[in-house]
Amino acid sequence: MATSQILKACARLLALIPIVCVPLFSQAPSASRDFMGMWSDPPVTIIGDFCANWCTDAGIERLNALLDDPKNDARPLAALQAEAAAYQREKYIRPRLTDAALKTYPLDRAEDPAFLRCEPYGFAQQFIARHQLEIRQPVKDRLELRYGEWDARRTIYMDGPRPPAEPSSPLGSSVGRWEGDTLVIETSGIRAGRTPWQSEHSDQLRVVERFTRSKDGKSLTLTATMTDPWSLREPVLIKHIWAWAPDQIIAPYDQCEIPTEVKKGIR
């Protein structure tokens, strides 16, 4: 190949660099993509309070309708929140459960291994647990999520080498990526356990978490899509909200007391 041809080829390659690289640079972290640090219980708003554990759009819509009805003005807020929570369980969750899951739904909270035997939550209860969520990036291609409840920790493998395939585990295996300013985490390999709405799920459960930070930076919203052919007829979408809480710390979680007097069967 003549020297001039080599130079022309190099020139063409150089011309391509901006085209290839601009999208890469556009993925650089922006303010609304900076999730690192400590988050905790939701902002003090009616909806934040309602979503302190988990909520659905159906539940939020119901709560808004109750609040907008003057007939409910004299009722305690907690009563309206309880009615909206019952609505989302019966009108949104129940119709999506398979016959297999409905056989034991709702499970007795008194038989939750977390309560009865002090066993840490499995993924489906942990990922929307109340209180602190600390997000760190110890190395470039990994995120660490640490929760106040149970002091549970998850490793998210970002756009890089995936974790070795393992048998199912309580918190499963998670891989993550950025879609614009949204952090997307996909988790599978989750050991069968309990859902937040107190039904059983199988080890076929897959969860896609989508985290977005509010424009003012003060809150972090998680929208999770949960699929499980054994327990769900169709995907279930639930939400959880945290507030920015840089002053909080995660205290030791080491004094769980196994209850000695339990009355079962109370819903």
């Binding site: 205290a251 009355k263 819903r267």
Partner: protein, 150 residues
């Protein structure tokens, strides 16, 4: 001296209590339709997770001392509303109101604590519920205003 009062059975809406005790099945242990008040001296307050615990020596009229346990929400939750390990001091006398157990054992779930000087500890910061009520009030005002315009 023991002061033990089974106050009254009321249909309490315990949304806060059930959600605050997050890992816990509150209803499986405690009867949320009843309230009990107990006074005694505190040998120890454990500001821990998942639930803070306070031990209390309750003395009856005959001088017999019974050891009670008071269960709180966890440190994770209480620290959010300003509690510390010093919120209740060893050796102090306190009066606690809470839900008794289904079995009637010497244990209650905290709802309110009064120190000897009359100051109180409550499960959630009053300003939190005030903020929520204010949001609700403003929302109702906007709704009524919009309805009048129509």
């Amino acid at each position: 001296m023991m002061r033990l009062q089974l106050l009254f059975a009321i249909p309490l809406i315990l949304g806060c209590a059930t959600t605050a005790m997050s890992h816990h099945s509150f209803a499986a242990v405690y009867d949320d339709s009843k309230l009990l008040t107990v006074s005694g001296v505190v040998p120890e307050f454990k500001f821990v997770n998942p639930h803070a615990l306070m031990y209390m020596d309750v003395t009856d009229a005959s001088g017999k001392v019974t050891k009670w346990v008071v269960e709180f929400a966890g440190r994770l939750n209480l620290s959010n509303v300003g509690w510390t390990a010093d919120s209740i001091k060893s050796g102090e006398r306190v009066t606690v109101t809470g839900n008794p157990t289904h079995t009637g054992s010497d244990r209650i779930a905290f709802k309110r604590l009064v120190h000897t000087d009359g100051t109180e500890l409550l499960p959630a910061a009053p300003q939190r519920s005030q903020t929520l009520e204010e949001e609700r009030r403003q929302r109702a005002l906007r709704r009524n205003s919009n309805q009048q315009k129509q």
